[in-house]
Symmetry: C2
Subunit: 319 residues, 2 copies
Amino acid sequence: MMELSDIRQAYDRIKDHIVKTPIMTSTTINGMTDCTVYIKCENFQRVGAFKFRGALNTVSQLTEEEKQKGVVAHSSGNHAQALALAARMLEVKATIVMPNNSPKVKVAATREYGAEIVFCENSTESRAAVASELVEKHGYTLIHPYNDHRIIAGAGTAALELIEEVGKLDYVFAPVGGGGLLSGTAITTKGLFPDSKVIGVEPQNADDAYRSFKANKIFPSEYPNTIADGLRTQLGQLTFEAIKKHVDEIILVSEQEIVDAMRLFWERMKLVVEPSGAVSLAGLLKKGKSLSGSIVGVIISGGNIDLTDFFDSYSKQIN
Amino acid sequence: MMELSDIRQAYDRIKDHIVKTPIMTSTTINGMTDCTVYIKCENFQRVGAFKFRGALNTVSQLTEEEKQKGVVAHSSGNHAQALALAARMLEVKATIVMPNNSPKVKVAATREYGAEIVFCENSTESRAAVASELVEKHGYTLIHPYNDHRIIAGAGTAALELIEEVGKLDYVFAPVGGGGLLSGTAITTKGLFPDSKVIGVEPQNADDAYRSFKANKIFPSEYPNTIADGLRTQLGQLTFEAIKKHVDEIILVSEQEIVDAMRLFWERMKLVVEPSGAVSLAGLLKKGKSLSGSIVGVIISGGNIDLTDFFDSYSKQIN
């Protein structure tokens, strides 16, 4: 079972290469919750998401032989870009398997970080099959986006920075999809202050972690239908174990509650936050003033959102 | 003529009530310019813009009698909200004159900060007339948005924080509309380091300051047609004098260059910046790599932008 010392070791490994992201506060949010809320802004992390922490921690622990052969992942999201950049920084070849209908902007960004892209059909089976083939053919190491001790330990370093900077938190809110960020956050938080409460927040329209936590067995994420595209995945065995052990509660938020939290970040705090990144605040706001007087940490997981349409309409205004 | 000591005094007056805004960096922007660029994020200031600094500095210097009677301004922009909040903090009544076609979101925000709104026709004459009437009738003190020593001194405190935190800058870029921010920035920068260069950046489609600076007389801003709505105003006598004395160059940027800079802030730095606020970066980028090796300051003036359409379309996706 992982513990705080694993997170600390990960931090020592990556700390010189990550952004120590700002912690921000908002009088509006403090007023709405009657709490003192510290917001850890991983949207300011390299590649725009906390995922870089875990990717770097993982690649840096590969053996020399593994490094020489290269890494592979199947992802069209933040894990792809995080792994691409982490690998490039350590001079390791990265190959990313992406569905052939992936948004061009994501393909371009991943390629920009130096990864080779291999396209596959848009199905879980095809992605896994193509990745396995590459592993077999080239000896690449497959890096899972969350069900990996090294990824979880890296993810936990965001909470470590947060709590070491502001002190003990009564509550910490983190989003849950595959569970990497929530696991790492919980291990860190409970390791530092066992009586702090850790709350996972999940979209109602992708509630597999909520149900798994209640039923004590992993449910698959079937037909997730949420704008929080980073949270459509199901728990892994490792993340499920950490969550069962360290998390106090998983709560659900509606799609509208996610949009409302996102809007608050953009309009009031001037922060570009992706839907998945706003889920933790949505969870805190759902609690209303019931945590009145508490010191609360909220983790923004990332800020990668396609703004092509928004800026295209802007450009049209001026032409 | 104003000098650095005026800025320092303003800072002592307001420092406990403003946000000491973060200074951010971007490897992307450093790479594009071959400079070390420090970005002062006044979009994180209270009310979302640097304007709060000057408003608070001004209201706090009113006499007891003036405070008891109240203040008035005509503005539908950031000055309105800044004055409303500054007045409320010092328990002074604020009245804001706004055109009757002002966006509802701006009216609501200004009212939320406790100001009384008085509507007028949408013309410069009507706004001034209605404000004068209120001054005469109630004895309110009219607070000009930029042509006022106290406003300029407050605006200059952003550059003071920036330079005191990061040290000497070879170049400082600030947007210019009425010239309050550029004046204050220039007085501060030259007061601290006389051989630093200060560059004002203005939309090509509202180039009155550029022409005034060249011709050595104030031109009115006729038919400004720029998305940078905060920069449509013309220079005042006080700001013109400070700019003539302390600013090295005023450069122009196109509407597309403003949108491109804005997009860079949003997409790469995850910062919500309004068009006027992105003009200073647009100016730096226009210089390409010609300042190679320099240490550069860029001031983001604010982040207030109407996101109603953006979030409405988001909400539609989920309903």
